[in-house]
Amino acid sequence: MAGFEPTIVGFLCNWCAYAGADLAGTSRIQYPPNIRIIRVMCSGRVDPIFILEALRNGADGVLVAGCHLPSDCHYLSGNFKAQKRIILLKKVLSQLGIEPERLRLEWISASEGDKFAAVVKDMVVKLRKLGPNPLGNGEISNE
């Protein structure tokens, strides 16, 4: 897919991953501009519906990032919940013909600006290979 630039929606938890992304910015670490960041209070707050809606509306990839396991989550176990949801959701996606690799979960601490940048870079490379979201933006047709 020549010239295809994936759009990534990133749900980052306020306490770790968002702070990590912020650090990447303030430290001027270069990373591709493909990600649109949505700050959430905890990775456990990311309702699977948010992810499905993002894909339905044409996101090529979705990143959910939170605090490291086992005990960094500020709400104790939000990260564990997110992990289980995403494992199940990936199965649902693959049953529905959507490549599960489009959905990615990462643990990024407030000091890991470099990790955040590396994750985004890596996602962009992989999504470029995978091509556009097969759902497109369109409605289902009758035929």
Partner: protein
């Protein structure tokens, strides 16, 4: 007061919704006292052309069951919409696609391959499949066109009310008929069922909020008083709208979700997935050697479990087929 005109129609349906109407028993007499039934293919000899000949909006209320699987279903949905003042999506098929909607995991090609060629009871050496239009000596036959995708009624035409359930519980049908015949209808778009979940109507006690192991229904004799989900039997009660008095739970069977999503919930499957992930493996998480993949692999068929009745109505709606 002049009598109301009612119509009942079945599109891609199993017939169960028609039986549910008959299950209101003697209450049907109250209905007939207040309404004339002008179209009901399962019980009356009225042709499509008779409906076409009716003036628009002649039908006061049309109860439409079944999903939209083919062009005939679609045409009838459009025709009955035009002829009806109020259109009710009756039952899970019309409401959210239901079991026929699981065919959205395939497309026409795969379904035809299976049905006309692979099923063990089929002998079809010429590989015949339905062709339309089809020329015969007497003229041209137009058969319905089978669509790739099952749609809900409201993905096809404008719908006024929804009666959930596979089939809708008799109580809900009777209540809906009463409201409608009295003219006390709720706002357009309402689901004619209580604003709560099956768990709220379920008599079983719940207190654990965590489970470690999932059992299929045949693997475990459930204990009669406690919540099935807490016993490890997957129960869609938390993500399913009430209205059935939790009838499955009363006979030791888990809710499989036919009441559709809870109020204001856009995707029943995602809601259940989320709820289950919150309680499964809570004790194990902090243990050495916890393997979340293994924990979640206990759910063998997530789409078939979480979206048994609601795939066409879900956010993603169907499988994306490989080009």
């Amino acid at each position: 007061m002049s009598k109301l005109n009612f119509a009942f129609y079945w599109a891609a349906s199993c017939g169960g919704c028609e039986i549910a109407i008959l299950d209101i028993n003697e209450k049907i007499l109250d209905v007939v006292a207040k309404a004339d039934i002008v179209f009901w293919p399962v019980a009356m000899d009225v042709k499509y052309k008779d409906v076409e000949a009716m003036p628009d909006k002649k039908i006061d209320v049309c109860f439409f069951n079944g999903s939209i699987r083919n062009s005939e279903n679609e045409q009838m949905a459009k025709l009955l919409r035009r002829k009806s003042k109020v259109l009710v999506a009756f039952g899970s098929c019309a409401h959210e696609g239901c079991i026929p909607g699981l065919a959205n995991l395939h497309d026409r090609k795969e379904i035809f391959e299976r049905v006309y060629h692979e099923t063990p009871s089929t002998k079809n050496p010429n590989r015949d499949e339905p062709i339309t239009p089809f020329e015969v000596r007497e003229g041209t036959i137009h058969k319905p066109i089978f669509f790739n995708t099952v749609k809900t009624l409201d993905q096809t035409v404008d719908v006024d009310y929804y009666l959930p359930g596979c089939p809708p519980p008799v109580d809900l049908i009777v209540k809906a008929l009463e409201l409608i015949t009295k003219g006390e209808v709720p706002p357009k778009g309402s689901v004619l069922a209580p604003e709560k979940s099956v768990c709220d109507e379920c008599p079983r006690t719940k207190d654990q909020k965590k489970i470690s192991k999932i059992f299929r229904v045949y693997e475990k004799e459930p204990e009669p008083e406690t919540c099935l989900l807490e016993q490890g039997i997957l129960c869609m009660g938390p993500a399913t709208r009430a209205g059935c008095s939790a009838q499955c739970l009363q006979v030791d069977y888990p809710c499989t979700g036919c009441g559709g999503p809870c109020p204001n919930e856009p995707d029943q499957g995602a809601a259940m997935l989320s709820a289950l992930a919150s309680i499964l493996g809570v004790d194990e998480e902090m243990e050495e050697g916890y393997d979340p993949e293994e924990m979640m692999s206990q759910i063998k068929d997530p789409v078939g479990t979480f979206y048994k009745y609601s795939l066409p109505h879900s956010i993603i709606k169907r499988k994306v087929m490989k080009k």
